[in-house]
Symmetry: C2
Subunit: 191 residues, 2 copies
DNA sequence: TATGTAAACTTAACAATGTTAAGATAGAAT
DNA sequence: ATTCTATCTTAACATTGTTAAGTTTACATA
């Protein structure tokens, strides 16, 4: 199974389309990610995607779900060293750095994941699952320090706000993002 | 000069187009804000806008500039009662409430202003001026409490993050946004 | 006042996009 | 072997941003 297109039926077109979309999104940006260019990259005709997705947005939801999957993986990597406040704070800082770095390294994907474009679309199972996994990472890390829903929202807002302002080019990018993240988190008081 | 379209030349088409765009944006959302629908609303042909703007994005920059103008006006309304820390904190909280309320009451406009869509476009004079006016409001309010660039960024990130998460429907909206803003700002430590 | 020039506008066309309809192909079940 | 159905193709549609070419108007100058 290494020939790339010998059968009439593609075989795994659904996944191939999601991957093609993600590649175009990263390489050429959202404006170039047309349904037709995605189909072209997957080696099928312009209307082929409609056998697997109701419309373009239904495909994009899966691209976003793929993004949340990678995002959650990245957020689960760091682990708190101990239960002492100092280590828990360090853990939270590491999550913040991962969050912002993911946004900067996957600009268009991050915007698709967190933007409003797909808000009114029916979410898929995997989208909801992977999104919840990311949220849980943040929520648990905060609540070990301060068991308060508002604290999670405060921390999330601060980090997400920084990521958003950077990705949307509302603040000039720094060379050292880690230092930037840590410098604002010093003003987050979880007591 | 109250007849609405009697001359071949419109007279004030440039401003009329900006206003028409802003109205469509608020009333029908960004997807309905096509250059053609804007022209239709202003009572001119589809190509008429090109006499006043290089392209659609150049018009949208002016819509965003209009948004920043309103935004800055709103942010300039509250004034600190005194120089005591308590009053300065209260002033900052008020700015946060204004910020988030503006975002929620002008969802599509807020997304146009702060989104990435126009980032690579050449900014107009008024866009830069009105944007700077908004930033100065926030910066000055923070620096009266803590004269540190990182503190401004921390406060801005937190409030902007909350606004973004709400507008992009990543968190479920609360009935009382003021209370929501204040509840996260309690975790912002400016000492 | 008459004339020329440039700005402001119109109509018509173009390629690209998302989507649908109709039909062709092929793998699987009977 | 035949039928059925999912998967795919081709062709068409309306809508979009944009450009080209031509028309109308305002205004400066003679």
């Amino acid at each position: 199974m290494n020939a790339e297109k010998q059968t009439y039926h593609h075989g795994g077109l659904r996944d191939a389309l999601i991957e093609a979309a993600a590649q175009i999104l990263e390489a050429e940006g959202p404006s170039k990610m047309s349904l037709r260019s995605i189909a072209r990259k997957a080696g099928v005709s312009q209307a082929a995607p409609y056998s697997h997705f109701a419309n373009k947005n239904a495909l994009l939801i899966e691209v976003a779900a793929f993004g949340f999957s990678r995002f959650s993986d990245a957020l689960e990597k760091p682990a708190p060293l101990s239960n002492e406040a100092e280590d828990l704070r360090e853990h939270l800082a590491k999550l913040g750095v991962v969050y912002v770095n993911f946004a900067l390294e996957n600009k268009a994907l991050f915007q698709l994941m967190f933007g409003d474009a797909l808000s009114h679309i029916t979410k898929s199972e995997t989208y909801l699952k992977e999104g919840a996994r990311a949220y849980d990472c943040i929520d648990k890390a905060v609540r070990r320090l301060k068991d308060d829903a508002a604290a999670t929202l405060a921390a999330w807002s601060m980090v997400h706000g920084l990521a958003t302002l950077m990705v949307d080019q509302k603040i000039s990018p720094t060379e050292d993002t880690e230092q930037q993240v840590r410098s604002i988190l010093q003003f987050l008081a979880l007591n």
